[in-house]
Symmetry: C2
């Protein structure tokens, strides 16, 4: 049976030490999150994750969701767990106080979400999707819509969904066919079929708010003719109570590789009543608001499965006696040594550990810059926060899910044959983690977003601002103790810059040069930005050690993990750069028949 | 619905062109396999795979095996398919003619096995395991045992199993507890529990021959006290007919991540009658005979899932219209371009294609050297064949299964969200491929076998012989057309040699230096040996093109694929070497508590 403990010490290290969140204590949101409040929230969230959600993780995988007569039943215990979540006020954590939210920084919110997702990823998607719907309505809804829907989303009494994909189109939403015809009363009749709708129908909440992309009559072809609508499962009366059932129903549940506990629905819209959110034909813009929020949330899913899988593999490696150390028996009184004595087992565990701690830092750092982009009282800091959020969102989504999956696979490998048996839970981590590389924009789309849009935005202000930040950090913090780390960071940053310049020189003349190198560039960016996080964490750990204020073991382990990351992971940047510079020809020279 | 076509043109290219098998036509085995016979066998095998086995692949995954009252029922259609396999005489393909086999080379046998495994991996394991039992009895059984059991294994009327793992031990067989007590009549009473026994119980064959590792009373501790026994499910009478049921039964079926169509059994031995195979306490030696055969067979499973997944992803990429080419519409009359226009989709497909063709070459080349180690009339060639087989077996097992899984994951990625839906079959390729990295010695064990045993064998004769072969090939075949490939091969070979020498210098003083670099060394060896295969294939393709004898498209595609491999895959050797040279310290400096 797998288990999970929230890595609270790691969270405190990031928020209070490495990123020193209290420096922002005068800003909105941060103001309400002094150190002791943050700690209390994290402690309570850990209990929810460990005691309520994690015990349901395998149950959800085994039972899955059931559809009968249009009604979807979630796995045993999910309904009660969701009630506990709502009663605890958790859906309100980072929501706007104007609609009942607690307004706390998302830098804290992502850690709450990591705990939920590590303990039960399929469950976490029900409240997770609501947050996307919340964002779209908050930023694009009318005052009336916000007043009608947001408070219930914020309490969690109602949940939300995102309806983009149709059978013939996913990435290319310009092809979508769902129609919206005016009813004459300000509402529209929505008709069409949406697929892959996570949390599309279930028994956890009183109502479900579907955010749906559709075309109005005579709308321009392609993505310029797409509008966003809100379509409630039950129509909402003026007094806020629920009225009749709307014309949207779950036609089927998908049988998937993983996240069995989440209902992935085919939703049939049959003249369902919907209302425009934002302007007509500007649906993609509104949808992007939801998607960017969601992409950080998917990135953390990758991390969450890596963390959960790592914890279990580590416990197994300490417990399982098998073989002897290559340098002679370490526990001679036992029939064999624990797996942990084997260097290759350590390699698999340390790949995950160094990633988990570094990727979490990147996630929090990115979310923090998202927070500052709204909350800072300094225009430059707001702009910089926005730049970092825009630049790093595809990196967090793509790199954290790619590596998160790979780490879950390596954790499974630590278990040997026992990793392949469903009962031990490692297979579920792998199967659940797999979806995060695909949805919310497949990772290839993230890589293109990074190379094709984010690099060029504002004349490269984001990426060059990121480089300058690294340079300034290195210049200010290089000393005898940190030199080897800083050198490795500088080498990675050089490779990343060289790749960036290569694209700038070669992708305009042939955009396929960008496409051919985009995967490697995203990997290179992921490794380098996490190396930057490790440099910051190592600096903090070294200072703490020098100050002699306790917790020596924690800081020493931090420095050892930094070393592992710099010596064993960072060198791969060279290969990524080499591959990028190869360009498009070896890929594009093939005719379709030559494959 | 997934599909499969056997890559017959590829098979002919390898056997008849790149490796020119007819040069051995005077040798035993090869003598019976002239070109037209080989082609006829491949054609018939392709029909079996495509028409009989592939249609049952998803059925097996969905239904799995059932256990009721000790009886295991395989999925619908498996029994009939197995009958077809037996009636076609396929289990006899590479078996010894003295026991009814056709005695054909294993270089052909591995291609038959690839087709079976690509079309239905779980099914292929039933006859696959029999071959391991066949080998152990052939090489270590008494004349009487061979006469009693081998003919039925060769026809396929009976199947075989390998019983190593127990609940508390897998890799470390020295810990095993199953006991063997003499009955006084030459037989032993076997008692104990074995787990993870593939094809351990089923309804396909009249009898099952279990090859079981156990300890006799007073045997030395550890692996020096292990003996091998044959324990038939039904005792065999002197006239060859089946007698009473033996004391071995299936206690449970494991619920696994994949290969659902194969029965993975807990087998309970309760005083079951068994007979010693080979000498007492020399069971590990006999078992290694089975394991080495089996390891090539598992390596090809990795390739097989990569091939099957690639074929389906390629078809999807040609068919699915989504988005536009970065360089402007390619099929302007359609609503979107096919996925295949996108460089990153090509990257995923070409990673698989270049691997599949190169890995298959390595598999056939290794099997061919295994054949020559027996069949050659030249003592030097027999020794060299033996060296290559020993050296490359862990590479084939470890590298082909690691990459085979990774390619199946990338093929799934090409499908986007549809790849995550079980109906489309990509999830099954990923889930099935996963086990091949684990069983028959987890890949970490293969890497240690390579670094710790195979490098040093006979004073490094194998690895340095391999280098010399590459050098001679490069010297003899470098010209203006091949130069860029040869240079890339030489660079990879240099990295591999540097890593080899680093181990020789640093692993004796600290064996953990070998362990810490073993994974990267196996990857480096895999990339380099496949680069060698690509150099041989490219040379052949270039010659064929120059000769102007038709099939131009095939040879041109071969050269383009070679280019992709050399430019995009081979550069990773540098990172592996860098990681190896880091040594053990960054891994071993952690105390258990510091993880």
């Amino acid at each position: 049976m797998p288990s999970y403990k929230a890595p609270l010490r790691e969270y405190r290290f990031l928020l209070h030490e490495a990123f020193n969140m209290s420096q922002y204590s005068e800003l909105p949101g941060f103001r309400d999150a002094p150190l002791d409040v943050v700690d209390a929230i994290l402690d309570e969230a850990a209990k929810l994750a460990e005691e309520v959600l994690q015990p349901l993780n395998q149950v959800g995988d085994r039972e899955g969701c059931k559809l009968a007569n249009g009604v979807v039943t979630t796995p045993s215990g999910f309904k009660e767990a969701y009630k506990t979540l709502v009663e605890g006020g958790w859906p309100a954590l980072v929501a706007d106080p104007a609609f009942g939210g607690q307004g706390l920084p998302n830098a804290l919110g992502v850690l709450f979400n990591e705990m939920v997702s590590s303990s039960n990823m399929a469950f976490g998607m029900y409240p997770g999707l609501s947050h996307g719907a919340y964002s779209a309505l908050l930023h694009h809804g009318t005052d009336e819509q916000r007043a009608m829907y947001l408070p219930k989303l914020v309490t969690g009494e109602w949940t939300g969904t995102m309806n983009l994909t149709e059978p013939h189109c996913g990435t290319d939403l310009g092809l979508l066919r769902t129609r919206a015809v005016p009813n004459g009363d300000g509402s529209f009749a929505i008709t069409g079929t949406k697929i892959f709708i996570s949390a599309g129908e279930h028994d956890l909440a009183d109502n479900i708010l579907h955010l749906v992309l559709a075309r109005t009559e005579g709308a321009p072809a392609g993505i310029k003719g797409i509008s966003l609508f809100i379509v409630p499962k039950f129509l909402v009366k003026e007094d806020g109570s629920l009225g009749e059932r709307n014309g949207v129903s779950c036609g089927a549940l998908e049988l998937k590789m993983g996240i069995h506990g989440n209902a992935t629905c085919v939703l049939n819209y049959d003249g369902a009543k919907g209302w425009l959110v934002g302007e007509e034909n500007k649906g993609m813009r509104a949808m992007f608001t939801m998607m960017n929020e969601a992409r950080l949330g998917v990135g953390l899913q990758g991390l969450s499965q890596s963390e959960a899988a790592y914890q279990n593999a580590l416990a197994y490696a300490k417990d399982r006696l098998q073989g002897r150390s290559l340098t002679g028996p370490k526990e001679a009184d036992k029939p064999a040594d624990p797996l942990l004595v084997h260097p290759d087992v350590r390699r698999m565990l340390l790949n995950a550990k160094a990633f988990n701690e570094g990727a979490r830092a990147l996630l929090v750092w990115t979310a923090l810059h998202g927070d500052l982009s709204h909350a800072s009282d300094d225009a430059k800091a707001r702009e910089f926060g926005d730049d970092m959020m825009a630049l790093l969102t595809p990196v967090v989504k793509g790199y954290l899910t790619d590596r998160g999956f790979a780490n879950a696979v390596e954790a499974q490998q630590v278990y040997g044959g026992h990793g392949y048996i469903e009962e031990n839970g490692l297979s579920q981590f792998v199967r659940d983690a797999r979806i995060a590389m695909i949805y919310e924009g497949a990772n290839g789309v993230q890589a293109l977003d990074l190379v094709g849009r984010k690099l060029a935005q504002n004349g490269g202000r984001g990426v060059f601002g990121f480089f300058k930040l690294i340079d300034d950090f290195v210049a200010a913090n290089t000393n005898a103790k940190t030199e080897s780390f800083m050198n490795a960071l500088v080498a990675a940053r050089k490779d990343l810059e060289a790749a960036t310049l290569w694209f700038m020189e070669n992708a305009l003349q042939n955009p396929d040069n960008a496409g051919a190198g985009s995967f490697d560039y995203l990997q290179l960016f992921g490794v380098t930005s996490i190396a930057f996080m490790w440099a910051m964490m190592a600096k903090t750990a070294a200072e703490k050690l020098a100050s002699g204020n306790g917790d020596k073991g924690f800081y020493e382990a931090k420095l050892k993990t930094a070393r592992y990351y710099f010596e064993r992971v960072v060198p791969e940047t060279a290969t990524h750069l080499t591959r990028i510079r190869v360009g498009a020809a070896p890929l594009m020279d093939f005719s379709a028949d030559e494959f």
